[in-house]
């Protein structure tokens, strides 16, 4: 199997604070991995390094054989990123937002209506994003991340702000991407299990355990010293 994401001994410091302290991780092509951990564990920092938004202080980071912090059009085109921040322009309509990103990614604009229908925003395609609810913005953000059909999907708490129905719809939609590599950060064990096979538990900037997503909840609670009666 081809290793698509390789991290070796990655350290990220912000001044005196070590957000990541020697993280090593390998993700194979087509694998779906959940990154779990409490707030401040370093999950978002980790995915920002993988996506190239943040530079590691030290260590090896490779995505598809390239360092993501060095600009590469090919690498950027193969990644889609969804976070709790939708990265949308409030004064543009839903359609305009997707059209803008399609142009940046050299993506096929004819996919926009289909994507809007999938995220159930087709009826509101000509409405400005500032009129959207949090959940609607998040759904549009997912369409934005998928406009260029990326091979690797990085999801940083993607269901943040969605109701139960919205979460389920999104997860079902993402499950359709069988052949994509998915990296998901979440607090929600149920989501992790639904979407991913493998879980990596991060605590205080270190990988403390790798296991299957089925075992992740019990393992995580044990590591936190918690019990659920």
């Amino acid at each position: 199997m081809v290793e698509e994401i390789v991290l070796e001994n990655v350290v990220k410091s912000f001044g005196r604070i070590r957000a990541l302290d020697g993280v090593s991780l390998r993700v194979e092509k087509g694998e779906k991995v959940a990154i779990l951990g409490p707030n401040g564990a370093g999950k978002t920092t980790l995915v920002r390094i993988i996506s190239g938004q943040t530079r590691a202080t030290s260590g090896k980071v490779e995505v598809m054989g390239k360092n993501p912090s060095t600009f590469s059009r090919e690498l950027r085109r193969s990644m889609g990123f969804v976070s709790h921040n939708p990265m949308l322009y409030d004064e543009l309509t839903a359609y305009e937002n997707l059209k803008f990103y399609a142009k940046l990614y050299d993506a096929d604009e004819s996919r926009i209506p289909e994507l809007l229908k999938k995220v159930k925003l087709y009826e509101r395609r000509h409405s400005r994003v500032k009129t959207f609810s949090r959940g609607m913005k998040q759904r549009l953000a997912i369409a934005r991340a998928l406009i260029h059909n990326p091979e690797i999907l990085i999801l940083d708490e993607p269901t943040s702000g969605l109701d139960v129905e919205g979460r389920l719809e999104l997860l079902n939609y993402l499950k359709a991407f069988e052949d994509r590599t998915i990296l998901l950060t979440t607090h929600n064990m149920w989501e992790a299990e639904k979407l991913c096979e493998r879980a990596v538990i991060l605590m205080k900037g270190r990988v403390v355990k790798e296991c299957s997503t089925r075992e992740a909840e019990r393992t995580y609670l044990e590591l936190c010293g918690l019990e659920f009666d």
Binding site: Q53, T54, S72, R76, S83, L88, Y89, L92, K103
Partner: protein
């Protein structure tokens, strides 16, 4: 770079004209400052220092407005969207510069006739005057756009930008004032010197900004 920088500039122009958050501020500030100068500066001095005052207005307005292109992306949390895209950071910077140039030209179009009318300025070489002020503004936009990316993460960005900008923009400020006064008076012999300085400054700043853009855009 392709045409992606134009897509970014166009997006900013559309957003700006729907929100009118920056252009209205820039134009109003320019007009208010013009009125203030007209009240505080004796008419007798208007002809001799009018060009300098006009250029001061554009500098103040620029300090206020040109960083907004990046600040707004940070406030809306959309800068990450641009960073993730397969668009070279130099293209993002170029797009912001084009957008700021549009704002600058619109501000000029409103403020210039008002200022000249209020001060009753007589300009010996009006086309040359217009050309110099546009060139000076374009160089200023280049510098401010390049420096704005350095301060956007700071809490006191509006205060920090003028502080770091002033030593950088000094050559273009002094050269533009010098050339403008020559155009007002009509004594244009030697005007090539300051014009070359303005152009050289813009080219150097542009080159440095583009070469360092990739580093500056990554945390």
């Amino acid at each position: 770079m392709g045409v992606k920088f134009l897509e970014i500039a166009w997006k900013d122009i559309v957003v700006e004209f729907r929100s009118k958050s920056t252009i209205s501020l820039m134009v109003l500030f320019s007009l208010v400052t013009s009125m203030l100068f007209s009240i505080t500066v004796p008419v007798a001095y208007a002809q001799s220092i009018g060009a300098s005052l006009l250029w001061l207005i554009f500098i103040f307005v620029g300090m206020l407005g040109y960083a907004r292109a990046f600040v707004r992306e940070v406030e809306l949390e959309t800068l990450d969207g641009l960073r993730l895209a397969p668009v070279h950071p130099a293209s993002i910077l170029a797009g912001k510069m084009v957008y700021n140039l549009v704002l600058m030209l619109l501000t000029e179009a409103v403020v210039l006739p008002v200022f000249i009318g209020v001060f009753n300025m007589s300009i010996a070489r009006p086309l040359l005057f217009l050309g110099i002020i546009t060139l000076g503004n374009a160089a200023f936009v280049t510098a401010m756009s390049s420096l704005a990316i350095l301060v956007i993460k700071s809490r006191s960005k509006e205060l920090l930008l003028p502080v770091i900008a002033f030593p950088v923009i000094f050559p273009v400020v002094s050269s533009t004032v010098f050339a403008l006064n020559m155009a007002v008076s009509g004594k244009v012999q030697g005007i090539e010197g300051p014009v070359k300085m303005i152009v050289s400054f813009a080219v150097i700043i542009l080159a440095i900004a583009f070469l360092t853009s990739e580093y500056v855009f990554t945390d």
